[in-house]
Symmetry: D2
């Protein structure tokens, strides 16, 4: 059977390069074309020598990617995906957007946080939000998929079962998140210069990060009521991984057993979610290079707090892996195809 | 003038070694004797080659330290300080305990969290809790000082001004803390074996860490009412530093300006507290090797949350530096003597 | 077709766990049994939570491994493989030894560096040295294979083409090597305790490392004359990788072009060797998690020095990957089966 | 007594910031003015928040520094120091250059490696090379000092006693060096972007680094004959430190004892050189934040090689600390003034 032809726009950024890696190992898809504005004419393996002899494909233009591919993944700065998506729709290609352009349903909210507008409202109506564990049925067979951000995958997966079963208060939710530095991209800057980041740890964009409204949108849809979230991201001096420590207030009388049961039932059959045994805390290291989301649950009976901790690899479940999972759903492949990675343990 | 003679029991652990470093640079104190059970007969510089030619003093016994010193710092596993403190009191020495034996005022609470008892209740009544920015006047001239733990310094300093001015709700406080690995001590174990900790990040002792009652004791004393705290510590793959991200609910009508003013007034004149300008987030890197506690304040007006973030070096303000600060208070020295360190910036 | 049954003795050490990972992805082999003295009765995924849901096989005894497997990989402290190998030979199993017991041909040399003896000289005569790029034909179809150490793979691969073509002097060779810390194993010790190793760098076992005679054996066999080597290993604060910077003196009149041509010809067709373009230096990062050996060549015409730098992942080409490559040769599989890994680039 | 007024041109780079730190702790000198092209008008503590409350001096212009200072330290890109030095000489200020402009005595060599020329040959004749342990008497009282580079401090200190006593062959010397990343400066670039450098290790500028002729100049002066050196630098994923592993061939009959004795005698009384006991290898960690150079010696009697390993902090003994040591010599202060730092051991 002929393989699905995959194109990657923005292939030399971290998310783009990671999509290439996953597609190279996918049984039903193949890399057809890649593009890069900064590295046009250079092989991907010149930019990432780890890929030498494995992916020496040369970066072309966005147009070439569009021409050669059945599905286009776009890893672009926000604002640039709308026109590209429109082109894909016109030419019958599928489009999976790694950026924020199609994630928010409300143009008002998008405009407030991203200072942009919806160029084509009809296009936005076609887009589905690609968080398969929460919205799987909506994604199947779709052509225009907004792939969630990293925090916006980790936090809802940690909170949803408690919220949709009414086991915690919908008010006062807090997400204290810690991310590896690849989340900030490949472009060098002062903060992520090795001597500055090494041996450091800090919060950033405190209560002001753009992923906030996206998480609130997901949580509100699940809870069936408007949810607000206090969100504080931190920057870890490691390459990969997000740990989301989420706090909620237990509803009166709710037990740890009830909570654990709700999570077990909700995520039963979800290949990519690993609910950890009681007492074990999720660790970013154990999900590195995989599409897993590990979740651990705790109750502080002294204070009435519920604590759910999720860990993902920000570049896989938080970006490229989830995008491939969405592609699998869109094209009717096995949802786990190309994603059953056995990671190095150290 | 003759210098104060300082002895360190448990000098080869991280806290002990750090006390030695600070005393070597103290204008009014000198290292008189050190002891170590594991390294008796060896020079401190054999254990820490960084100290070669700077501190080649040989480790002796606890008895030798007692005999030669005016003040004894003890960095021992909990339970072992009580008898040593009693000996010091009998012989007129000052005693500064780096461990937990004298930190909790309630024997019941101590017994619950540490599974021990107060050998001599009178001795416990003499002990003062050495967090100078909160309890300075009680510490002056005292002979028996319980030096706080690391988390238990960072969290109260972040929350106290808001709490004592009634600007946040006393209920529902959360401390999401992240610590460098030296906090776990010098003894090798699996979790802190380099290949395992490197590129990892996880929570541990979730809602079950022994520093919890100590923080609650301090916060309750300041607030004048019983406070409980949800406390989740995490382990950072860096050597030094604690970042405490503390969450509270704003009382109705309280503004960020009011909060900032309360902190400015409360900490005015405190040399070791640096309140950061609006919008700047505290970073463990900027307090490394110093006795500073950096604090940054944020209000999430969308959700009504107050966020105070403090950063300390767990081995200095969180251990050895604060102990020297306490010694200075106890002996009437300038409080900052030996502690005005200009740290390397990178 | 039925898959080859693979057993791993010492599966919870780093090398053993890495063999398990590779076998899980091998198209013609399957993990049949694993053993561990320290973790008998525990799932491999309890020891390495990264493997949860992917390899929950429980560790049994060495006897169980022997019984259930067609080929046994042994990752044991030196001295313990000889009896196990003998058992395998008696029962018709193949045996691939990750340790040093069968690597040295001379019992005298083994005895000098390892303070042991050859229990069964006939067994040692059956053993082949499993460095496929140098001794491929000897390995095919064999039952008893001594898998080389990590340094002993990196250094000969860097020097052999220059040496066997007589382009450098056989005397005065130097190998200045730097290894990631997983090479020291999973057992915690003081040197590899995170706070001690972090931000450190040092040489160890200077001119006294046990891999020295093994490298000299290989180089001497290739050169057809006795070679001695000055070998200085260093410990890098990273998890994986060996960089071997090897120095030799150019024979009079030899040009860089000749050298480069010799390497190109020697390694033409070798899938796992990537000769880097002129001016590019090998980097351990680019071979991480793969079975590649990257090699870069330099000539210092000012001094007459030849510099060959090789990079491998000490746990893959330096251990588990090469062992699987040897298994492939021994059983007539495609040599690259299970080893065409596309690694994460960051 | 009035303190010496110190100015730093290029104060916001790593070397400049480190000079500021050291001068802040110097008993006989004080920071009078600092300049920065990129951060003019900003406080040094805005660039380095670790310095908040400790050095809030604002960066001015180079002219302001010249006006206010008795001695000017310049941390500038090469080529820019010559005019500044001339100005200092005209106005009677001392000038200590952190760059390469005055390090090489031969304009031909300078021109070949740096592609520049000597603007004022007389000025170059006035300059002394500031490596105190080798050229102390020439430095005393001088006004124009070329501070050596980092590698060019570590390598000669490791080799000189063996070379000047004729214990090793002057031909065939090799320096395999490894440097922390601060040596590459504060300006972000792709190679030193955290995700790229983290978990990496590579050589760079193999046999082509500009420090080569500087080391050869020093070694030749000491040996009294022309010395060439094979020099391969590597980049370590740590912030600070250089480890220089230097190889030479023993002259016939020379013993380890003779070598050790030569080093002991040569460096007797040198406060900043710590000769390590037999069998101990130098480690960059143990010299961090100090002006020490640790040296360890090894003989490989099997191969006739001599191995000398030196460790320095590239920012202190390899830059700012040595510059202060030179200032002390130039102004007749105690050579160790401001440099007897007790470093943190972890």
């Amino acid at each position: 059977m002929e393989k699905l032809k995959v194109g990657v726009v923005g292939a030399t950024g971290y998310a783009g390069a990671e999509i290439c890696r996953l597609i190279l190992g996918h049984p039903q898809a193949e890399l057809a074309a890649i593009s890069s504005v900064s590295f046009e004419g250079m092989a991907l393996s010149s930019v990432y020598p780890a890929y030498a002899h494995l992916c020496d494909m040369v970066c072309g233009t966005q147009e070439q990617v569009l021409e050669k591919s059945d599905v286009v993944f776009a890893a672009l700065p926000h604002g640039l995906s709308q026109e590209l998506a429109a082109q894909c729709m016109r030419t019958g290609k599928a489009f999976i957007d790694m950026g924020a352009d199609f994630r928010l349903e409300s143009e008002e909210v998008y405009s407030k946080w991203y200072d942009g507008s919806f160029a084509d409202k009809e296009l936005h109506r076609q887009a589905v939000y690609g968080l398969p564990e929460l919205f799987r049925e909506k994604i199947r067979g779709k052509k225009l998929i907004a792939n969630p951000g990293c925090y916006t995958t980790a936090v809802p997966l940690a909170l949803v079962p408690a919220l949709e079963n009414g086991l915690i208060e919908p008010a006062g939710l807090i997400a204290d998140c810690k991310s590896g530095v690849t989340g900030a991209g490949r472009k060098p800057n002062q903060q992520n210069h090795y001597p500055e980041l090494n041996e450091s740890f800090t919060a950033y964009k405190v209560a002001a990060h753009r992923h906030t409204p996206e998480m609130e949108q997901t949580l509100s849809q699940i809870a069936g009521q408007e949810i607000t979230l206090t969100f504080v991201p931190h920057l870890l001096p490691i390459n990969r991984g997000i740990l989301a420590t989420c706090y909620g207030r237990l509803k009166v009388g709710v037990t740890e057993e009830q909570l654990r049961k709700a999570y077990e039932e909700r995520y039963q059959g979800e290949y990519f979610i690993r609910l950890l045994p009681e007492g074990k805390a999720a660790n970013v290291k154990y999900v590195r290079f995989t599409n897993f989301c590990d979740i651990s649950l705790f109750v502080d009976s002294r204070t009435g707090s519920f604590i759910a901790i999720s860990a993902i690899d920000n570049m896989v479940k938080g970006a490229a892996g989830q995008a491939v999972q969405n592609m699998n759903l869109a094209f009717g492949f096995e949802e786990t195809a190309g994603l059953k990675l056995v990671p190095p343990a150290f």
